[in-house]
Every structure is written in structure tokens, then in C-alpha cells.
């Protein structure tokens, strides 16, 4: 009995949660930017700390709801702790949403940077990673005129998550980045943020998520434009929904929009003797969502023909984009599609032979693209309308 009592006492006094901190003691960090000081090569660590009081519903203050803090240090952790010298709250990184890295950092290699985030216990694995193109990473965090959210970090997080509604950009979280960097036969593509002028010429700057940054292992190799990014995403098969514009088969200089509902992509490696080749099968289900041309279909047959023509055009567009991006990746010698991984899965023996100089082999492999598009309906309206003349 006495022993049991002592054991129970130990349960209460020898363990338990130790890091007690009241909410007003912590500073919730919503986003992080890492730059490199060009003069001495130190890291410039910028964190965006939320100011809860400014978000209070009872007496909201007009001030900015966040605080930007920049510190420099030889290591990331050093810089993180230096923020305590200039900020009165201890940084709390578990709710950090985005890590933005500058181009220079990316060119030097990201693994050495991300190590401090992944090794420490605070930042979560599914934080988004982005590359700042043509600007410093911390400048992107400062801009808050773009979206609805008052906090740039929330804006960035939502924009990155909305990648699933469009095809022109890509996104990656830290865990996936690690997986693709450390895995053999595949290289990551990271989302790119850039600062642009607003279209209405109001001279306000906005942040835009556009294109992708191609990595060779963990080093930035180059950028993909929006069309190439679309090609990359067709091959990677992670599209949930998106819009494709096709020239109208009925009327020149008019367009038809197709919404992608479902798609699937498969990389099929083939080995014949010493020759390695790849076939990429892409299938897409879509629905017509916009039809600019005005005309009249006499019967349903015409509608079917119209849809079949659209399917052909859609296939052509996808095929072109995929071809272009594969050629570009070959130029960078980075296998962003996971050709090597597919080969490894199907022909492990062949993979063992080629894996050591796979990047150069990848640049030479032949490939073919098969696209099958199925446009299932013309939307809620049957055909185009034409006013009676």
C-alpha cells in the first residue's frame, strides 16, 4: 500500500508539463522570412508576430495587427533568440504558417536553413515554404494591401492553400520538401512569391503567387513560368480544380473555358535493353464553364462534335505544356517529376545502375505524352446562344 502511494506521488511530482506560459507572455509568430546579409553573409531572420490586442473585438485598435522583427545571426537559432532582445514576448512558432526564403538563400541550399526549423520542436512539419523572387523575403511579409486579411501571414497562407483552385502556381510544405529533396529520383519545385504592381495602376504593391522554383536537390536551379508550372502540375497529377482557356472551335478569337474536375497522371517507365524511356499518361475530366462564341447548334450531334473538338484542343494544349516543361527540366538536369522514382519502383535493378549519374541520364531519356481529355458536359446550358437577326 505504501509503495503504491509513493508510486502515485511520483506520477504527480516527477513529471508533467513544464513549459507553463500565460497567453500574454507569448508572441504568436505567424510567418518567418530568411534573407542573407550580402555584406557579412549572416542570416537576416524576420518574424511576423501577431498583436492580439489589435484583433480584439471589444476595443479594437487601428494599429497594425502585427509586428515585424528582424535580427541577424550566424545561425538561424542565434537570430531567433536575438529577437528577445528587442521584443517583449517570447516567440511561439507552432502556429507559424509560412517560411519565405530569399533567392540567395535558396541558391546556397535550403537543407542547412530548414534544419534548425525541423530539428527544433516548435515549427510544424506542414508549414508552407516559398521562395521570394526578385525581392528580399522580408519585403514580401511587409506588404498587406493585397488581400482581405489584416495579417500578411494569413493572406499568404490562404493564397498558398488556394493553389488547388488554379493551375498557374505550385506550393509545397516542409515535410514534402524534405521528402523530395532527400528521396532519390525526384527533386522539389517550390512556390514562388513576387511583388507586383496592382493591375489598376494604383501604384500599390501586391504579393503574387506565381510559377515555381525548380530545385536541384536543395539548391535553386531556376524558375518556371506559369505555363511551365501548369505543365509540371499536369505531370505531378495533383490538380483538384482549375481553369483552362481554349480557342473556340466555332468562332476565331473567341475562347472556351474548361474547368478541370478530376485528373490523373501516371509515369510509366520502360526499359528495353540499355534504353530507358518514359510514357506519361494524363487523363482529365472537365466541364465547359464558359463559351464566348455565339452560334446555334441545330441538333445534339453538333454539340457532341463541338465537345469532341474541344477535347482534342485541350489534349493538344496539355501535351504542349508538358513537353515544354520536361524539356526545361532536362535543361536544368533536375528530375522534378519523379521519373527516377517511378523507374526505381518498376525496375529497381536498372535504377541501381543509373542512379549515380541520374541527372545527366535524365536529360537524355526519351519520353512520350499521352493525354486523354474527357469533357463530360457543356455545363448547365446546352449550346451557345445566338440572338435572332
Amino acid at each position: 500500500m505504501k509503495k503504491i502511494f509513493i508510486v502515485i506521488l511520483c506520477l504527480f511530482f516527477l513529471t508533467g508539463c513544464w513549459d507553463r506560459k500565460e497567453l500574454p507572455q507569448i508572441g504568436i509568430v505567424a510567418a518567418i522570412a530568411v534573407d542573407k546579409d550580402p555584406e557579412n553573409g549572416e542570416y537576416i531572420f524576420t518574424s511576423q508576430i501577431l498583436k492580439p490586442a489589435a484583433e480584439s473585438t471589444q476595443n479594437p485598435s487601428p494599429e497594425k495587427p502585427f509586428l515585424m522583427v528582424s535580427t541577424t545571426g550566424k545561425t538561424i537559432f542565434d537570430a531567433i533568440r536575438k529577437t528577445n532582445q528587442i521584443v517583449d514576448r517570447k516567440g511561439f512558432y507552432a502556429h507559424n504558417k509560412v517560411i519565405i526564403l530569399s533567392e540567395e538563400i535558396a541558391k546556397d541550399g535550403l537543407l542547412s536553413i530548414l534544419d534548425s526549423f525541423q530539428r527544433g520542436k516548435e515549427i510544424r512539419g506542414y508549414v508552407w515554404i516559398c521562395i521570394a523572387k526578385g525581392t528580399s523575403a522580408r519585403d514580401i511579409l511587409k506588404i498587406r494591401s493585397g488581400g482581405v486579411s489584416r495579417v500578411p501571414a494569413n493572406f499568404l497562407k490562404s493564397v498558398i492553400e488556394n493553389t488547388k483552385y488554379q493551375l498557374n502556381s505550385t506550393s509545397i510544405n516542409m515535410l514534402k520538401f524534405y521528402k523530395e529533396t532527400l528521396g532519390s529520383g525526384i527533386d522539389p519545385v517550390v512556390g514562388v512569391l513576387s511583388i507586383e504592381e496592382r493591375i489598376d495602376n494604383s501604384q500599390e504593391k501586391i504579393v503574387k503567387l506565381s510559377g515555381g522554383a525548380v530545385f536541384k536537390v536543395d539548391k535553386l536551379a531556376g524558375f518556371l513560368n506559369e505555363s511551365e508550372t501548369r505543365g509540371y502540375r499536369w505531370v505531378s497529377g495533383d490538380i483538384e480544380s482549375g481553369a483552362i482557356s481554349l480557342p473556340s472551335p466555332i468562332e476565331a478569337s473567341k475562347f472556351v473555358s474548361v474547368e478541370v474536375n478530376k485528373m490523373d497522371a501516371k509515369i510509366i517507365p520502360e526499359v528495353i535493353g540499355n534504353h530507358i524511356g518514359f510514357t506519361i499518361d494524363i487523363s482529365e475530366d472537365g466541364v465547359v464553364t464558359e463559351q464566348q462564341a455565339t452560334s446555334i447548334f441545330k441538333d445534339s450531334k453538333q454539340l457532341v462534335e463541338f465537345l469532341t473538338t474541344l477535347e482534342k484542343e485541350n489534349e493538344k494544349v496539355i501535351e504542349e505544356e508538358v513537353n515544354k516543361v520536361i524539356e526545361k527540366a532536362k535543361g536544368f538536369q533536375t528530375d522534378i517529376f519523379g521519373f527516377g522514382e517511378a523507374l526505381n519502383k518498376k525496375y529497381p535493378e536498372t535504377w541501381i545502375q543509373v542512379k549515380d549519374d541520374w541527372p545527366s541520364k535524365f536529360a537524355e531519356v526519351p519520353f512520350s505524352v499521352n493525354v486523354k481529355v474527357n469533357i463530360k458536359s457543356s455545363g448547365l446550358m446546352k449550346g451557345p446562344f445566338k440572338p435572332v437577326e
Binding site: G16, R20, E22, L23, P24, I28, A53, H95
Partner: protein, 542 residues
């Protein structure tokens, strides 16, 4: 005399020797007393002696009324009537005792050959009940209980007629247990009314109400109700044993009895149930439980009492099973919330910020920003304030009720948040805690105590502490028994057949047998063909 409480078994065995000594001492003393009392207190044949004896005992009392009557029967015989004003129906005494005795016809009747006492007993008194006693102290007890006692000159026994007629509350809807569907009646303070309410529901000769008196000063009437042949005889025996062991001056309410006979006097969980509703008590008696009725209180006790009963309400059985089952689950959730929610809030805001969604954390941080206290202190303060408000709400005189709600709602809820003393989320959490507590109010003391325990542990150890706290409470609950039945039956130990009516309730025609953990006698309670069937199918069977 030493009051004998029921100690827990261990302590009791330690104290065994001294206890036995005390017991033996106690037994001897009353027997001696009784003899001497008996000698002195027999009713005398001489009426004058009896009158002076009665006046000796009750003479100081203003409310004791005497009435002397001369009965003419061959000769004039003095008859003396004693009763207590206010306890009796005077009209009843007038019509059935005084008038009968003075009836002129009586003189001319043929009863002359009969002995006077016998003829009074058998022919004259037109009352429903009649008792005869030869002991003066018994006669006095009858008088004090509201009966009318008749002394007759020349006879050494007194007749007692039950003429009780005192003011009592009507059978009303109980405030503590109101229902939307189901009978509205509730017990009142009169024992015989309470048992009659059960009799009206269970018309069965096997329904037994055994009587006994408890309390040396109060002589409170107790009735043990059960159905012979259904209730477990061992439980009945145990109830009688434990009641018999009570040696106290005062039993004013069934709560006194509960505290003297419960299995675990140190536990925060009640192992004896109470209710004000006859339908609920009848249902429990029919399940094989034993009910203890106590005069002077509308609260009737039932044993054995299981934990699941606190999640059950009579209405569950009257309404259809879907909602009943959902609401039982809801009550379980409320039990969890009322115990854990302040603790969870403390743990989440001081240790586990990463578990709170970011937006929620921001607004919680915004609310806590200006609060000068640590969250733990804040929660403790608010929980105590809530208990104060609740207690004030119960105790306050009705007319000032509005003041409490204004003070409670406006000052605590509104002004304190505005002033920044407490955060709005904390007010929400405490309000939720309080509201949920009312849902399972049968466990009130367990709720409040374990809530503070969980808050302490959460403040010191975080979620780990909450886990430990719940393990402790659960372990304790597993160790409890109520009159031989494990407290957590049918969940621990698992009795699958009883899950049909525990935290969920299946349709009534599913519940074919009585709970095995309460009684094993007459386990089948209804036929197997009760399931409602479509008329077509029934025709086909014909």
C-alpha cells in the same frame, strides 16, 4: 451513549474489539431500564391513577386535550379521552368517539351482558382502526403520534384510535425534478401519502412496506418498500441490518439515514439515490431496488444506486428511444464538461498553445491580454464566484431574486470583462461549466470537488494532470459499491445485457429482463413478442 457510525470496513475491523465492548455495554443498559420502566408504567385499573399519570407526563403541554365522559351502562363508568390538539381531526373524534360513547341507545341495547371494554371495542367505536395497549409509555407514544387514547375506569388497558389529521402540503409537482412528459405528482412530507402514491402505481400484494421507527428522540417512521419475489432478499436484509444499526437521537430527513447507511462515507460519489417522484421510485422498486421512505420528507431513498442512474431520468422511458438515447449521451458529455472544462481551458492556455487553432488562440490571447491574473487564478476565482451565485440563488428570499440575476449577469458577466478583471472566454467557460452542472445535478458534490481537483492538476501539470485526475476519479469510482453492486455496473464490470438501458436506451420491447446486477429473481420482465408489428403481419399469423 456513543453514536455508532458505520465506519469503512478496514477501520471497523481495527476498532472491532472496542466496538464490541461498547455494543455489549449498550445492550445491557436498556434492558435494565426497560424492566423498571415497565413496572412503573403499566396502565392501572383505577382511572384516577391513570389520569394523574398522564398529566404527570404530558401535563405541562398546552396542546394536550383531555375529555372526561360518563358512559351509562348499568352503572356510570368514567371514560377519559386524551389527544393532542392540531394533530387530530376533532370532528372525527366528536362523531365517532364522543358521540358514540354518549349515544343514549347504548343504554338500552342488548350489550349489557358483554364486558364494557369489549362492547366499546366491538360495537360502539365506529372508527376504522383500533389498537389496545396495556403500557402507559406506549399509550403516550400513541397520543404523541396523533392518535386518540381512551382510558376506561376499571380496565388496565387503553384503546387507541388513529385520528391523525394534521396539516400537510398537497401532492404537487416537485421543484427539483420537473418533467415535460410524465406524471407531475411528487411526494410530500407525509409518509402514508408517499407510500400510497406507490401503492396506486403498483397494485400487487407482493409490494411490501415494512415499517420501523428510527431516532430515539424523534421516533421517525420509516418504511422499507420493495416487491417480495423481485427484490434481492440479501439487499433487503442488508438494508434492515444497516437501518437497525442506526442509533441516533434525530432523523429529520432521509439525508440523515443516507449518511448513516451509505457504503462509502468518505467518497464524493453518492451510493444511495434519492427522488421526489413516485413514478421514478415505482420504476426502481419494479427493477428490484429497495426504497426507504422517511416521514417528514418528500425525498425517498433507493438502493442499490449505480452511476448510470445519475444520467437517467424518468422521462427517458416515456419519450421515444432516439431522443432519450441522445440526451443520455448529452448528459454524459455535460458531466465531462462540468468537471473538465475549466481545467482544459487552463491547460490549453498555459501549456498547450499549439493545440488551439491559430485564429482561436489569437482571439483568446486578445481577451487575456489585459487580465492581471494568471489563468489558473482567474479560473479559480470565477469558479468560486459561480458557486457563490448559485448558493445565493438557492438561499435568497424569492422577492430579491431579480437582484441576484442582475448582480450575477451584469456585474460578473459584463462589468468584470469590461474592466479587464476577467477575460470573456473565461466567463464563457465558467458559464458552460455551471450550466452543464445543472444537467447532472445528482452528482453535485462530486462535480464541484473534482472540478477543483482537475483545475489544480491542470494548473500544475497541464493536460497530463487532467489525465491523471480523471484516472484517479475513475479508479475511485471503480472501487465503489452500493449494497453489493459495483458502482460502475454495467460499464465496469461489463454486463453487456444491461447496456441496452444504461448510457443509451433501446426501445422498451428490447428490454426483456430486469437488470441482473440489481436482482436475479424474476429476471424476465416481459414477453418476447412485444415488438410492434404491422397489422398485415399479425393477420398472417392468425
Amino acid at each position: 451513549m456513543v453514536k455508532k457510525f458505520r465506519y469503512p470496513k478496514k477501520i471497523e475491523s481495527l476498532l472491532k474489539i472496542s466496538q464490541q465492548e461498547k455494543d455489549s455495554n449498550r445492550k445491557e443498559v436498556p434492558s435494565q431500564e426497560k424492566e423498571s420502566v415497565q413496572n412503573a408504567n403499566m396502565i392501572d385499573k383505577n382511572l384516577e391513577n391513570n389520569i394523574s399519570a398522564i398529566k404527570n407526563i404530558l401535563g405541562l403541554n398546552d396542546d394536550v386535550k383531555y375529555r372526561e365522559i360518563d358512559v351509562f351502562c348499568q352503572r356510570t363508568i368514567n371514560v377519559f379521552i386524551v389527544f393532542i390538539d392540531g394533530l387530530v381531526k376533532e370532528k372525527y373524534i366528536k362523531d365517532h368517539i364522543v358521540k358514540s360513547l354518549m349515544e343514549p341507545d347504548f343504554i338500552n341495547s342488548n350489550s349489557i351482558e358483554l364486558d364494557l371494554l369489549t362492547s366499546i371495542k366491538k360495537r360502539i367505536l365506529s372508527t376504522a382502526t383500533l389498537q389496545e395497549t396495556q403500557a402507559m409509555d406506549v399509550a403516550v407514544e400513541y397520543i404523541l403520534a396523533g392518535e386518540t387514547v381512551i382510558f376506561i375506569d376499571g380496565y388496565d388497558s387503553a384503546l387507541s384510535v388513529s385520528t391523525q389529521g394534521y396539516e400537510a402540503r398537497k401532492v404537487e409537482e416537485p421543484d427539483t425534478e420537473s418533467s415535460v412528459r410524465g406524471p407531475r405528482e411528487g411526494f410530500n412530507e407525509v409518509l402514508k401519502v408517499n407510500t400510497s402514491l406507490i401503492r396506486r402505481k403498483i397494485i400487487n400484494p407482493n409490494l411490501v412496506f415494512e415499517g420501523m421507527k428510527l431516532g430515539k428522540q424523534t421516533k421517525t417512521n420509516i418504511r422499507i418498500g420493495y416487491i417480495k419475489g423481485i427484490a434481492n432478499p440479501k439487499v433487503i436484509e442488508e438494508v434492515k441490518n444497516r437501518l437497525g444499526r442506526i442509533d441516533t437521537d434525530v432523523i429529520l430527513e432521509s439525508g440523515y439515514i443516507e449518511q448513516f447507511i451509505e457504503d462509502h462515507p468518505y467518497s464524493i460519489f453518492p451510493t444511495i439515490a434519492n427522488s421526489e417522484k413516485p413514478d421514478k421510485i415505482a420504476a426502481k422498486i419494479l427493477e428490484g431496488r429497495v426504497a426507504i421512505f422517511c416521514d417528514g420528507t418528500p425525498f425517498v431513498l433507493t438502493v442499490p444506486h449505480l452511476f448510470v442512474e445519475t444520467l437517467q431520468v424518468g422521462e427517458d422511458y416515456y419519450s421515444r428511444p432516439y431522443l432519450s438515447s441522445l440526451i443520455r449521451l448529452l448528459r454524459l458529455l455535460c458531466l465531462f464538461l462540468t468537471i473538465a472544462s475549466p481545467g482544459l481551458y487552463i491547460a490549453l492556455t498555459t501549456y498547450h498553445h499549439e493545440m488551439v487553432p491559430a485564429l482561436l488562440l489569437t482571439s483568446m490571447a486578445a481577451a487575456e491580454e489585459k487580465v492581471p491574473f494568471p489563468t489558473f487564478i482567474e479560473a479559480m476565482l470565477m469558479a468560486v464566484v459561480f458557486e457563490i451565485l448559485r448558493e445565493a440563488g438557492v438561499r435568497m428570499p424569492r422577492p430579491v431574486g431579480a437582484a441576484i440575476s442582475i448582480v450575477g449577469a451584469l456585474v460578473i458577466g459584463e462589468a468584470a470583462v469590461q474592466a479587464g478583471f476577467v477575460s470573456a472566454p473565461m466567463v464563457i467557460v465558467i458559464a458552460l461549466t455551471g450550466i452543464c452542472g445543472f444537467v447532472v445535478s445528482a452528482l453535485n458534490d462530486a462535480n464541484i470537488l473534482s472540478r477543483f481537483l482537475i483545475m489544480l492538476l491542470a494548473g500544475a501539470l497541464g493536460l497530463y494532470g487532467i489525465l491523471m485526475g480523471f484516472l484517479m476519479i475513475l479508479g475511485h469510482m471503480c472501487s465503489l459499491r452500493s449494497f453489493g453492486t459495483p458502482y460502475l455496473t454495467p460499464q465496469a464490470p461489463i454486463v453487456w445485457s444491461e447496456w441496452k438501458d444504461s448510457i443509451i436506451r433501446l426501445p422498451l420491447w428490447f428490454l426483456k429482463s430486469r437488470p441482473q446486477s440489481i436482482t436475479w429473481q424474476e429476471s424476465k420482465k416481459q414477453s418476447l413478442q412485444n415488438r410492434p408489428q404491422s397489422p398485415n403481419l399479425m393477420k398472417g399469423e392468425e
